[in-house]
Amino acid sequence: MSIAWNAFTPATALIGGAIIGVAVAFFVVLNGRIAGVSGILGGLARPQAGDVSWRIAFLAGLVAAPLALLAALPEIRVDASFPTLVAAGLLVGAGTRYGGGCTSGHGVCGVSRASPRSIAATVAFMAAGFATVFVARHLIAP
């Protein structure tokens, strides 16, 4: 392992993380819910009265964030090809529903609550992420 010091951005990482934490805090203190994106989206598949608008509002907030930053949007680079994006999207969409959460619900909220279930899920998806990148970058296409 070699650390890419030139790419390391500790300040924006910590500040951005804290902003995510503030959003999570708002959501539990005001709305009483976990800010878990896959679950919020997934709940729309079985719409129930009174349970739809807050979900759409949260997701719309995520979509609107880059619009507010339009002039100062940070670097965004997607290297994956379109077929890879389709495969990855299918796996993420199905996997997060079976696993009951994603990076936000398990990784941030669950770990913040010290939920053993979420910690186990986070270890599993991180390990699979590390392994997948290792295989893709160092075994298949070194």
């Binding site: 951005t9 999570v24 005001l30 800010a35 807050w54 940070p74 899920a121 990148v133």
Partner: protein
Amino acid sequence: MYTAASFAAGFVFGLGLLVAGMANPAKVLAFLDLAGAWDPSLALVMAGAVAVGAAAFAFMKKRTRTLLGAALLLPTPRRIDRRLILGSLVFGVGWGLAGICPGPALVLAGTGSAKGLTFLAAMIAGNGVFEFFEKRAAPGRARMQSS
């Protein structure tokens, strides 16, 4: 008010993802690439988010209602089962392929990126796959679990 607060939370969440670099798939993959030129930044994103999040959940611990008077609806499942682990492993493989998880997928879609929209469409289709098999497994009484 409840819906407006929800929009604000999503919006602030999205800003955080952008500032942190989580909405940049190339940076996410550089974090997941332990054997390459490793960029440890995203570990600090997690640390920052959990530090603030843990304080908020601690504040809510003894409460049953939120400051808006809404019910506190936190997840109750506690079992660590095969479904949780296998689902999370599948998610991790998808995350490692593209460097995109559900929150950033929506932020990327908001930038109007064709690749972001493609990923989001596939992710929603993946949700559909889950719903299809859930309904077949337990018709009329679908299981719902969340983190």
